[in-house]
């Protein structure tokens, strides 16, 4: 298998796993409806760092679409929400990663916070008023800091694992 073929295969596998994780997460009972752990974000950040920018975006957008198909919310408002959150969070993570100043925890946190805040903005534009944004946005920022920390640790573990298996430079 050539380098680009193996990269493509890895991307497809990551899309399927992250979409599946997204689907499973919606069935786990949560204290507040919009707070979720965001395990799909682990694989998005992994693809962004280990495979490249293009693959990161592919995994993120693929995750939203596969997840929506699994949960039966394809072409519904929740797909718009999830796509808006995912695309903006990848853009922020990519921008911060290219500066080289940020560690995995910082990237993951920034991604989780962006995801939550953008979803809160979209919700308040589409359905609720600006007062809703003030409260939902704050809750999302707080939860994003905590969940971003947790997923950051998982991403780091995954990146170290991939590095040990492949020698770290297979794709680059």
């Amino acid at each position: 298998m050539t380098k680009s073929q193996s990269k493509f295969a890895t991307t497809v596998i990551l899309i399927i796993i992250s979409g599946f994780l997204y689907g499973v997460e919606t069935f786990i009972p949560r204290p507040v409806p919009f707070i979720r752990l965001g395990l799909g974000n682990v694989l998005v950040l992994f693809a962004l760092i280990n495979l490249g920018t293009k693959e990161g975006f592919q995994v993120g957008i693929g995750k939203s679409i596969v997840g929506a198909l699994l949960t039966g919310s394809f072409l519904s408002p929740s797909l718009i929400l999830s796509l808006a959150g995912t695309i903006s969070s990848i853009t922020i993570m990519w921008a911060l990663y290219t500066t080289g100043f940020f560690g995995i925890i910082g990237l993951s946190m920034a991604g989780a916070i962006t995801n939550g805040v953008v979803q809160a903005i979209v919700v308040s534009c589409l359905f609720a008023g600006t007062y809703a944004f003030a409260y939902v946005g704050r809750i999302m920022t707080m939860s994003g800091m905590i969940t971003g920390c947790i997923t950051g640790f998982i991403t780091y573990g995954l990146l170290k694992f991939a590095e040990r298996r492949s020698g770290g430079t297979e794709h680059k």
């Binding site: 760092i49 100043f101 940020f102 560690g103 995995i104 925890i105 910082g106 946190m109 920034a110 916070i113 008023g129 600006t130 007062y131 003030a134 946005g137 704050r138 920022t141 707080m142 994003g144 800091m145 950051g152 640790f153 780091y156 990146l159 590095e163 770290g168």
Partner: protein, 124 residues
């Protein structure tokens, strides 16, 4: 161990990471202290007064059990006098930030502070 981490180009935590929680905490708390520009007074669920906060004045509002007196002073607003038994609305004192409310349950009076980005004013 540290050499290996450096070579790989990614690290668990870098010093700049502290910026992200600082910025987000700043955003959470800074939004709180935004000054309002108008007050909205509701009696029994109906809006009876809209006043700019810059005008020092005293308003009388007829509530369910009597007359409430609301004072606006130096960009802040308080319940000066209320006929309710516990006087919780009077004890709340002055409020001035956008989205804050004084609610007097027995007399059915709500004082809410709105601002420039208030959705009510956009639609009006």
């Amino acid at each position: 161990m540290f050499k290996m981490l450096k070579k790989s180009g990614f690290r668990l935590i870098k010093p700049a990471d502290i910026i992200i929680p600082i910025i987000s905490l700043f955003l959470i708390f800074s939004h709180h202290s935004e000054k309002g520009t108008t007050i909205h007074v509701y009696s029994n669920g109906k809006e009876v007064f809209v006043m700019p906060l810059s005008m020092d004045t005293i308003i009388e509002v007829q509530g369910k059990i009597g007359k409430s007196i609301i004072q606006i002073k130096e960009g802040k607003v308080r319940m000066l006098h209320s006929p309710c038994p516990l006087k919780l609305c009077e004890k709340q004192g002055f409020i001035s930030t956008r989205g804050n409310e004084i609610i007097c349950v027995p007399n059915r009076i709500v004082i809410r502070i709105g601002g420039r980005r208030d959705i009510d004013e956009i639609t009006e």
